[in-house]
Symmetry: C2
Subunit: 534 residues, 2 copies
């Protein structure tokens, strides 16, 4: 077996924090060197050489990590299968609180949305008296925009015109009249697709000129994964846990000036409301961030997929676009901003449809043409996902037949979520050794957990992050699947987990009580061990 010079694979200024099974703040310095010195033929099986092996695999792929569906979730799947096979466990089901998947947790679809999609799917239903007229009118309008009046035709790569117009209108209304141009709207496969596309455009350079991408820590691991895959440099700025996970401009300055020593930071990513941290940014803070981006010449990526998920009565969602406009033309005409939305979150929770859009402003004309070319290679986003997105941005209006039912369904879902957000925070804060910030928005709690030194030691021996050990034990003993904080990044020496607030309230209460019992036992067990080893 050929020895690979892995030491050459690391950029000097980025720390390696990886252990097997452990997902720490990400490493991004891996360059495509590892196979350069390796011969083409490496492993043999049955006497025959394989082309694709761990040694010849794209090292940028190897560097990718994605905790939300990582080792803990794979383990949860195995346990589920064991339960199905009748294996005895201290619990009867696995509760997947690892991912923001509302329907999987029992949330019902918004009726109007599904009606419109079904009508577009089977236009014969347009004659059925079962469907309301406003849903039919919407379906007719969308089908008119489709080639051959069929959802089965490719749309334009940017998405259907009529849906992009609806998106633009939605943004204008949301932002109190700030103009939005349908030409700046691109329909995407969920938000992830749009984020990856924009980052792909922005990545360039070698050595000290490599593109640096500033992301919050804790972050949603799509960002670190995309950065690894694109071989860019991850630049961390830390959110302030003691201040309800607020963004702090001084910290941005610190992160930027440090990063400028080893790369070329060109992008600043913001997640608002925060994932996994659940904070909602204040208007003042957004203004400071925009000013910072303007001064430091950074391209802004604003991930606003939780814009409808604000629960705290003291908080309000402000879009970056709106604040940018209010700061005056010098900002509004110059700062490059891409913002993202999705059908997967909000009150619709339609993850499976992979609907989404991005709005990109102040993009140079030629660059826009390059982006269009790139988008055209994947032909178009799912057209049914586009239809779902249309309903999200253009729900039934007052006076229309479906409005009452729609409003009722929407209110019920959002008030349930608000209740669960409160419940989660409250119960977690009753547990000794757990401290949870208010869940102001989004769909997750990200509590800080105290892990006894003896448990940290045991994790080290097992080659995993301490919070990975914690989450693994939680899963094995209670069936509750949450994601370790190390998968999102956290300040060194602190430990967290992310759990969704999506289970129905009664189930959520039980779940939280189980977490409480587990945590107390966990503390006792390792404190006892501590005492024994003294």
């Amino acid at each position: 077996m050929n020895g690979l010079k892995t030491s050459r694979c690391l950029s000097s200024s980025v720390m390696l924090l990886k252990r097997s099974g452990n997902i720490q703040v990400k490493v991004t310095g891996v360059k495509r060197l590892s196979t350069a010195e390796a011969p083409a033929t490496l492993t043999k099986e049955n006497g025959k050489t394989r082309v694709l092996t761990m040694e010849t695999l794209n090292p940028q792929v190897k560097a990718v990590e994605y905790a939300v569906r990582g080792p803990i979730v794979i383990k949860a799947g195995e346990i589920e299968k064991e339960l199905l096979q009748g294996m005895k466990k201290p619990f009867s089901e696995v509760i997947k609180a690892n991912i923001g998947d509302a329907h999987a947790m029992g949330q019902q679809p918004i009726t109007f949305l599904r009606q419109v999609v079904a009508l577009c799917t089977c236009p014969e239903l347009l004659d059925s008296p079962v469907f309301p007229e406003d849903a039919k009118a919407r379906a007719r309008r969308i089908l008119q925009g489709c080639g051959g009046n069929s959802l089965g035709s490719y749309s334009a790569s940017q998405g259907l015109d009529c849906i992009r117009e609806d998106v633009a209108m939605y943004i204008e209304q949301r932002d109190g009249g700030v103009p939005a141009d349908p030409n700046n709207i691109y329909l995407t496969s969920g938000a992830s697709d749009g984020i990856s596309t924009i980052l792909k455009l922005l990545v360039a350079g070698e050595g000290l000129s490599r593109t640096g991408v500033m992301i919050p820590i804790p972050q949603y691991p799509l960002y670190s994964a995309a950065i690894s895959e694109l071989d860019a440099v991850q630049v961390n700025y830390y959110l302030d846990e003691d201040n309800c996970w607020a963004m702090d401009v001084n910290e941005l300055h610190r992160a930027l000036s440090t990063a400028r020593k080893y790369c070329n930071p060109r992008v600043l990513c913001i997640i608002n409301p925060g994932n996994p941290t659940g904070q909602v940014q204040s208007r003042k803070c957004i203004e400071e961030v925009i000013h910072f981006a303007y001064k430091e010449n950074l391209f802004l990526l604003s991930d606003e997929v939780y814009q409808d998920n604000v629960y705290s009565p003291d908080c309000k969602f402000h879009s970056f676009k709106k604040v940018l406009c209010e700061m005056g033309p010098e900002y509004f005409n110059n700062v490059e901003l891409a913002s993202f939305h999705s059908t997967s979150k909000g009150y619709t929770g339609e993850c499976g449809y992979r609907g989404g859009y991005m709005e990109v402003i102040n993009l140079e004309q030629e660059v826009r043409a390059q982006m269009m070319k790139l988008l055209s290679v994947r032909l178009c986003p799912s057209v049914s996902g586009q239809v779902a997105m249309d309903v999200v941005v253009n729900p039934p209006r007052s006076g229309e037949q479906s409005c009452e039912q729609f409003t009722k369904e929407k209110k019920s879902i959002l008030s349930n979520l608000a209740e669960r957000a409160k419940l989660t925070e409250e119960i977690l804060n009753t547990v000794p050794g757990i401290r949870c910030n208010p869940v102001q928005g989004a769909m997750y709690a990200f509590p800080r957990i105290f892990i006894p030194p003896k448990a940290i030691e045991e994790a080290k021996v097992l080659g995993m992050a301490p919070d990975m050990l914690y989450c693994l034990r939680l899963l094995e003993e209670t069936g509750i699947c949450v994601v370790p904080g190390s998968g999102f990044g956290q300040k060194e020496g602190t430990y967290h987990f992310r759990m969704t607030i999506l289970p129905p309230s009664e189930k959520l209460k039980l779940l939280l009580e189980k977490v409480k019992d587990f945590h107390i036992k966990f503390l006792q067990r390792y404190a006892a061990l501590d005492a024994m080893s003294r």
Copy 2:
């Protein structure tokens, strides 16, 4: 403006064949060097620096080309808008024969497929007497596999279990009992997504070790685009136009030994039935190709999205998997093969659903885990696309309620396509200066066109490929949109275009007559100019 050292961007052994507006056989030697020496701030607009400019754009993105939705199609869109605005043209509509988009050309959806998708979308319809029982049973089965019984939940990143089981069963039946394992099946967003994913895994190395990817010329430009984006080396093997676009193993040997001087060829891509060339590979030829891949240690990518589109009575589709198995265990247990299918082609033509699957065999376990990790970042393919794929691989069976209608619809679509394939070949071959191989399968004709020297000269002056000039004139004078052969690659000094055979027969006849008239006029015009300049 900073001068970029573009000369450093080319690997010595790959020729640059690009001109503005021209799409020739692709350049792949572009490395991420161009911005390394460029300062961060390059262009100024209104006194303010832009972050993302043509100078700072990812050079791998810049290198991507995709003719099927390229400059000629953008021009077609502009002309369509002019027509809508009432501008006078020598034609009343633009006919988009540039892309295999069946529904846009009037093909009707398969009823059963849409019924199943609609039932999954609105489960209340399961109580409606309008829908047949077999469609309801199918929808129930799929919904049982979805989290919360909803299409709105994320599926596993690999796709829904029950659908992957149906895919495996389909493959086994298609291949006369050759075993297929659902664990080797991955549902994708169309075939493009799967192809890009597999190529992404296989790309590694620098300099002489850079991964070389062998692709047919002419090719479907997804391949060249993905290769550019991944910064791999495109290795061309030429199909034999004089032999009905057959693949020739001697040519593979030539291409491989040439490529080994400047890169590390690790992948061999095959498109069967061919796009844009319409040939169907013989079993003997497939066996030779597999033997070649086995001997030379190449990973096989077999793009079989047109497996249901075989029209010539002398031809039969053979899957690479089946032939591989028939060649014995030494081949079947060792050759690494990924094959691809899609909802977009065949007789369903459901492009907008972005449904697809890939089957990957002989992948190392650890590599498979890496691929799963990579797939999990984009969460899952569109679930409604997965449902559409399910119907493609598991249509109603004999004795089931929907079978008769399904069979009728399928037969009608396929016999229409066969008629149009024949029609296209026949009419094109009546045109002096056009020679068209039989369209044995797929959805396109790729006729060779004679372009007079004077027209070639004019194209040079205009800085475009001669067949781009030809297609542009065809579009401007007749409203017919086809794609120049240079967008797919072709032997130097030969010219072609790709057109779909999808328009209804009567319309197709008119279209072909228009092409004929145009071509004759084109020859006359430039022959006259020729004579004048003597």
